[in-house]
Amino acid sequence: MTTRTLQFKIYRYDPDKNDAPYMQDFTVEVNTVTDRKLLDVLVKLKAQDDSLSFRRSCREGICGSDAMNINGKNGLACLTDVATLKSPVVLRPLPGLPVIRDLIVDMTQFFKQYHSIKPYLINDTPPPERERLQSPEDREELNGLYECILCACCSTSCPSFWWNPDRFVGPAGLLNAYRFIADTRDEATNERLDNLNDPYRLFRCHTIMNCVDVCPKGLNPTKAIGKIKELMVRRAI
């Protein structure tokens, strides 16, 4: 068994007890065989100090609840290899969202934007007896879109979302908007494009591409946003 000593600097804030947030130092012995992911180490730290708060659930990059700022870059603790981390590991909550406690942020604003794009299939024709079918080519277009787990890593790394979280839909919301625009079973393309034709909602994206850089699922919101703009051009000319 090999061990490695890791230093941590973790953002701590409990609004009931602290006037202001502070960084707390931790030292932990990491077992390089069993403690593979950052989440494993966080669970160990929680055993050291049970007041340390963070969200986690599936521990395998599907639920998207343990998103945080790891050494300056947003990511999922459960998908981050401990071996790749430089000591001291600096952990902060996702930037730009209100902190509830320690590494837990209030995602209300993020989900409000997600709901604003109507993230569900709109089709008023009576459904066929079995299911609405798609050709393999049409289904292909949804790859790289439907995999989004709504962890908010992308939107909270986007300067446009930091500046206007109440008005700019953000990369996660726009990726999902295109997921339904691209779906051949959806009939509300025009309404969806109208919904985004606003100087803030879509056009605050200045292709900074932080979203692409941080997405733990390897998705490309910038590309999806480009396709929405392309559709608007095709509709207008």
Binding site: L196, P199, A236
Partner: protein, 115 residues
Amino acid sequence: MIKRKIFGASYGFGDWLMQRGTALIMALYATLILVVLAIVQPSTYLEWRSIFDNRIMAFLTFIYLVALFFHAWIGVRDIWMDYVKNAGVRLLLLMATLAATIGYTGWAVQILWRV
């Protein structure tokens, strides 16, 4: 006054397309002026002046400047929208920006077509 957030100012797409279009015009003009400068290789004031005494060149320069002012108007407006939260101050800055760009257009006409 209601506090609800309202959306749907539908000029977003038009402005975005305009910014791309004007960028294209500016890129074409930049190429043209580099070619012209390489051919004429002006060193004196009169040689510089002769370039813009050409009517076509003066007209193309004017098109370029108008594209630049449209492009700058949209860009500067976006900056005010991002950083100035007070609606009254923002409106004042927007009007000042608009006045400046219209003023620059008039100034450009005066410079390019003065006798």
